[in-house]
């Protein structure tokens, strides 16, 4: 079985990056518990995780960076970009590390990624307002990170299972 050639990898990455952008846009449209700052459904992570398991860490990081910067230009502005970047970088780090250990399934990696994403955003928020008290929201964000991460993880697992064999 041939490994996918470079063109295929690049086009797949581009496709999933575009998908991640659309997911980000949908998230902006759905108001989800605005009472708690930073709480998000994290649907865009679905695209990132699928790329992570399909093409590896490098391409997954690429998808994340593309969707954050273009998303920043389109929707969230400079602060949104900084905020998302902090969350995504920590989330990527944790997910890549956990995936390497091969102890966890996609779902577990996604859960940890969700929590790490929220934690990264909290750090960014604490930095921006120079106050550590924002961490009061951490417990809620852990739990929402676990739940949304689990849901996205299950979806990612189903997607990966259905993809044609010649991708792996």
């Amino acid at each position: 079985m041939e490994t996918p050639n470079k063109t295929k990898k690049i086009t797949t990455t581009a496709l999933l990056a575009a998908l991640a952008l659309i997911f980000s846009y949908i998230e902006v449209l759905i108001p989800f518990a605005p009472a708690i700052p930073g709480i998000k459904l994290g649907i865009a992570n679905l695209a990132v995780i699928v790329v992570l398991y399909l093409l590896g860490a490098g391409y997954a990081l690429l998808v994340n960076i593309i969707r954050i910067f273009i998303g920043g230009l389109l929707f969230s502005g400079l602060f949104g970009t900084f905020y998302s970047l902090a969350g995504a970088l920590l989330s990527m780090l944790i997910m890549i590390l956990l995936k390497k250990t091969c102890i966890f399934s996609v779902t577990g990696v996604s859960m940890a990624g969700g929590v790490a994403h929220n934690l990264g955003q909290l750090f960014a928020a604490a930095f921006l307002v120079s106050n550590i008290k924002v961490f009061v929201y951490f417990p809620v964000l852990i739990i929402s990170g676990v739940i949304s991460g689990a849901v996205i993880g299950i979806l990612a697992y189903l997607v990966l299972k259905k993809l044609p064999i010649d991708f792996r």
Binding site: G77, S105, T107, G108, A125, N131, V136
Partner: protein, 120 residues
């Protein structure tokens, strides 16, 4: 789709979350002072006992805060996201409302103050 390790991870994270929120709850009580910071520096302290509207000029941005019946909420902001407007009213010590783009933090504290307003 689930491995045993995932379940242990989820349980650990949730337990940690619950433990942290339990620890935090010891500091919670109905507060009586609102502290507003702009860019990390204190803008002013206000007693919660008096209903009022406060206009904050922080850098080039404008935000307005309403103190009503002992709760605080952001009534106006010129930020693009408007997350701060949508956050629920706060009233307990330690609770915060944040406007990240405008670098504004509203925080409830429980210090008893003799003065009605302190502007620095």
């Amino acid at each position: 789709m689930f491995k045993k390790a995932d379940i242990i991870l989820a349980a650990t994270l949730i337990a940690a979350g619950l433990a942290i929120s339990y620890i935090f709850s010891f500091g919670q009580s109905a507060g009586n002072t609102l502290e507003i910071s702009c860019d990390g520096e204190i803008f002013g302290s206000y007693s919660l006992e008096k209903d009022r509207e406060i206009t904050i000029n922080c850098g080039e941005h404008i935000n307005k805060v309403i103190i009503n019946k002992g709760t605080v909420s952001m009534s106006f902001s010129d930020c693009p996201g408007q997350d701060c407007i949508q956050q629920e009213a706060i009233s307990h010590t330690g609770e915060t409302i944040v406007c990240l783009p405008n670098r504004i933090l509203l925080e409830i504290s429980g210090n008893t103050r003799q003065y009605d307003t302190i502007a620095r």
